[in-house]
Assembly symmetry: C2
Homo-oligomer: 368 residues x 2
């Protein structure tokens, strides 16, 4: 695996050199992990002129780590607990005769920036901006394979829950049971706080589970995901509790399903991000649900659960092949509840069969 990380760092270095950066400091944890294979707490990654160095604040066994550092990478451990690894990295960059260092200004704090300018006034600080986030958008097959396994785990956890008795159980307990099942099936952990929403709560995005119990006739909407080797996927489904869904439930479900299908079908290399949003949104819009819709219809996933691209009305850019995204429209009717349907898919060219659906749990309206 270490060639993968070295190759990623080489690509970043090429971009940086084109921009005139002599060294680069990566501080955002998901970016450190992407380039170094691991992001021990507080660690930063220096791409120096002659050597790349992972700077850590303490012995790795004292720190919860995520993944294993690429073993070709030099690891530098600060001598004392009080030091700032970014300041140490600036010293290390100077020792490699760098005159400038690009930092992630969207993650770097003002206080840290000032500390660096004060201890290393000879080092000109520039802005790396979101260069690493941009590299992370298109995934390699190894990364997609981690997402695929994560999605299988989430499908399994959800499938088992559906076989159990649901009426009378609280949202919080159902969410906890799903998280336990994710880990049972091999997840590192949940990809985000599992959302279980019943009755009037159903259909709300990122609803926090409450002590409300599942009742006959409820909509039940569930959103969960597994983290597998650091990669995070997402699935959301809505069910009806009881034997026969009410007419309004069937109508609303069919509408959100149609919107979600339109979004999925629009996924192709070259499609503008905003077109995917529009494809899903206009189905809901034309049925009269313009107000209160989610601000986006999907987003990228990977080492973070919400990363680029944003599939939103004002987003700029076009999809590439091998970009995993969610498609997740929903409608929530205050006081009554609603529907969300959420899949993780990988954008693939038509010749390869079109978008690859990772979360394969049925999207029929099941009455449980």
């Amino acid at each position: 695996m270490s060639e993968v990380y070295a190759a990623r760092r080489a690509r970043l270095r090429e971009r940086g050199q084109a921009a005139g950066n002599q060294s680069t400091l990566v501080t955002r944890p998901a970016n450190v992990r992407y380039l170094a294979g691991a992001a021990p707490q507080d660690a930063v990654l220096l791409l120096g002129r002659s050597e790349d160095i992972l700077v850590c604040t303490g012995p790795p066994e004292d720190r919860p780590t995520d993944g294993r550092p690429d073993d070709t990478l030099r690891v530098h451990i600060l001598p004392g607990p009080a030091g700032d690894p970014a300041v140490a990295a600036a010293d290390l960059a100077l020792a490699q005769h760098a005159e400038s260092m690009a930092v992630e200004e969207h993650h770097f704090t003002v206080a840290r920036h000032r500390a660096l300018r004060s201890v290393a006034p000879a080092l000109r600080l520039t802005d790396l901006a979101c260069a690493v986030e941009q590299l992370r958008v298109v995934k390699d097959e190894e990364e997609i394979s981690c997402l695929r396994i994560g999605a299988e785990i989430a499908d399994q956890a959800l499938g088992e829950l559906l076989e159990s008795i649901l009426v009378g159980r609280t949202e919080r307990h159902l969410a906890l049971e799903l998280e336990r099942r994710l880990v049972d099936h091999g997840a590192d952990g949940p990809a985000f706080a599992t959302s279980v929403a019943t009755g009037p709560n159903s259909g709300r995005r990122a609803h926090r589970p409450t002590d409300r119990r599942v009742e006959e006739g409820d909509f039940l909407s569930v959103c969960l995901g597994a983290t597998y080797r650091g990669y995070r996927c997402e699935i959301g489904r809505t069910f009806v509790i009881g034997t026969t869904p009410a007419d309004w439930q069937i109508e609303l479900y069919d509408l959100v399903f149609a919107a979600q299908r339109a979004g999925r079908q629009s996924l192709a290399p070259g499609t503008a991000y905003r077109e995917v949003d529009r494809a899903a949104r206009q189905v809901l819009d034309s049925a009269g649900y313009r107000e209160g819709l989610p601000t986006l219809m999907g987003h990228g996933v990977g080492l973070e659960i919400d990363e680029d691209p944003q599939l939103a009305p004002a987003a700029m850019g076009k999809l590439d092949a091998c970009v995993p995204v969610t498609v997740e429209p929903g409608v929530h009717l205050p006081g009554r509840g609603g529907v969300r349907i959420d899949d993780t898919l990988v954008v693939r060219p038509e010749a390869d069969g079109g978008p690859e659906l990772l979360t394969i749990t049925t999207k029929e309206l099941l009455a449980l």
Copy 2:
């Protein structure tokens, strides 16, 4: 409750006015929650010249919120999803005729700082530094009561686990079961990732649970905490699995227990932070465990699990009454395992009975 938040904001405003700030922008989520009663995702709090405003990025029901905003506070929702609430807050400060605004430079990013200077060049930006974190150190009785309930919940969850069969179960499953029990007993959720460490892993700080199974003769060390109404506590205990602990286990346990007791007994208003660290550390030190000790022997707890003060060798400052802290020395012998003992206590004057122990699970060496 809203008077509490208004009073906290008044104290911060007084300090700010003394420093010449005409307005203050709070962005760090735990600080927003402390002053506003809630910290909806991405929300920021403006303390203006004439009015305080919580600036949110979207309708509250779209966002996972933590707590309820103080209902005397004006809530301003951004019109679109793409806006930065800090930029909106700068405009709102200018509308109140502020000429300067203090920001949390240790949390504010360089990119955000630049955006503010560009859209509101008339607003002079100054540094609030850790003024809110300093206000948060001493807790009121309401806050301590939340910590006390959280500690009771953690004690209950741990007590129930000890009554179950442990041999053969994995670290990951035991950690998940503890987290489920925390929620069963009324926690909002775990205060941090529950740590369960067996055999050679035992005694490691913040060990991430693995698939290792509990075996006869193991040390088992557990560290968990509950979040209750936003407040986070911590308890850590070490047990022996099987009927009779080995001699080395008894010796190591007694040593860490003596260090932890020395740390607890040193807690009093006026004691220097570093004295608490030294009290515990020198017990381990004089037994020959100087290398590989944790970098600190305890820390403050509250809305965050690790907040000021740090009970560490180089920490500056003295304890006050009503400061809740952990005391958590440990020793880990590579390849063999080790012991950690961790309590949450509230500093109280001698006249009030001395330090109040919140986590009351026994610290006898139990053989399970």
